[in-house]
Symmetry: none
DNA sequence: TTAAAATGCGCAAAAAAGTGCAAAATAAAG
DNA sequence: CTTTATTTTGCACTTTTTTGCGCATTTTAA
């Protein structure tokens, strides 16, 4: 076996299993462990793998490992964990934009099999990394501020969908004024999403409760569930529960 | 056995078995190993095979190896820098997928004012961070492997565009077989993009030159410009220039 | 802390590759 | 058909690359 060939074999093994042992490789290829170590050192030097004691790790595995650790203690992550419980196999899900929704996308359990419609670039990036999730992107002009699709073409596309559930990341929620926002185009998209879904779930950190913005998106009565990081019996949530919305 | 004949035999052997040993070839053809080595050197110089200690490897087998290194990133940046010079204010640009295209999106000069149509999530994320660029995302199902939009709806949308220029990140380019790929759905998108654009630019690192994949995308004659990290007078590029394609 | 496992380093043998040159084969010219 | 020029090939030799082993050192895990 050629040296180059051997190194390619090793690289494939690493990328396939996310990690390899020097001893296993040595046995499989029938060369000394020294040779394997030298190969791993070379591959690591050109940045193709991460060397470790006893073997090596794939690059992608290493990076994803780090990312998961950093954001684990976030309010939004807490909200996302509550939200994923509403998703079941086979569902068709409309997903809006915002960082909270992106957290939701990261929090999906691996074995889930569902179809996600979204116009949010950051959320789509996360959904597509899920092993089984189907992702349909709603295309049109992309808004620079919110990084979601806006425009008539998108609204038309959304109207063709009949989703089981819709997750909206929101900017302002008030017991009287309901759901409001400051971007006209984004509001049109959110309204379309609410119309296109049987159940509407609003995700928000508690700071945005009892705040108002300038453009009306929906009445509280149009929302089915509100999810925040607070415990369900927090007094701040009382007026929303009274309006007939379920709190998680 | 003629020299030419012998080299073609070697090339067939390489592509068939993905690797050859100098010693085996020498024995099979009944010439000295020196001669085989000289043949391998010539074939490697024109980019048809990859030389290695003890023999040679096929290009297709080898590419996966080179593509994810630290040096390939520099190459792609170099390619991106060449490509941005083709973009001018007011242009309508169709942009495909792939890491090279993503580099292009990162390399855009800040004051540029242009409209980008794309179905690539990573590229769109970069385009949208540009201060003035207009971004239109072509929506439909997102392919897990390539992270670009695929499907009939997307093809229909692309057909409605009449772009000034189209940038394609490509997987395999051969002087005879032209542009090829291994994903049927992605091929359909690329074909649509080529049809929808007045000028077609192929971006690729040199390792992918002289390689073939299974599904035809376009003839060389359909390409206007090829951009690689190599200097324009490199011998590997000669057959492409002869086919009438401009090289940068 | 301690024992086992893994690693790095120097070294030597084996394999392969590069080099210069002359013989052989092929092509071109007279 | 012969002669000359060019290319191709093989051989002897040197240089480089690759590989495995012994041994001191470091890392890991109990």
């Amino acid at each position: 076996m050629l040296k180059r060939e051997r190194q390619e074999y090793i690289l494939r093994e690493v990328n396939l299993h996310n990690r390899v042992l020097t001893s296993d490789l040595s046995e499989a290829i029938n060369v000394s462990e020294d040779t394997i170590r030298r190969d791993l050192a070379e591959l690591a030097e050109t940045g193709k793998i991460i060397k470790a004691h006893g073997g090596a790790l794939s690059k992608s595995f290493h990076t994803s490992f780090q990312i998961n650790g950093v954001y684990s203690h976030d309010k939004k992550k807490c909200i996302a964990r509550k939200a994923v419980n509403l998703i079941h196999d086979g569902m068709f899900i409309l997903s809006g934009g915002g960082t909270t929704i992106t957290e939701l996308a990261k929090a999906l359990p691996d074995q889930l099999q569902a179809t996600f419609f979204t116009g949010s670039l950051p959320a789509a990036i996360e959904y597509i990394q899920h092993p089984t999730a189907e992702v349909i992107f709603i295309g049109d002009r992309i808004s620079k501020n919110s990084r979601i699709t806006i425009g008539g073409d998108a609204i038309q596309k959304i109207a063709q969908i009949n989703a089981d559930i819709c997750f909206l990341g929101i900017n302002a929620l008030d017991p009287e004024l309901g759901l409001t926002d400051n971007d006209w185009e984004v509001v049109q998209i959110k309204k379309a999403m609410i119309r296109a879904s049987r159940k509407v779930v609003a995700l928000t950190i508690s700071e945005k409760l009892n705040t108002q913005q300038k453009i009306k998106v929906a009445d509280l009565s149009e929302l089915d569930i509100i999810i925040t990081e607070l415990p369900p019996d927090d007094p701040i949530l009382e007026p929303f529960r009274k309006a007939g919305v379920q709190i998680l």
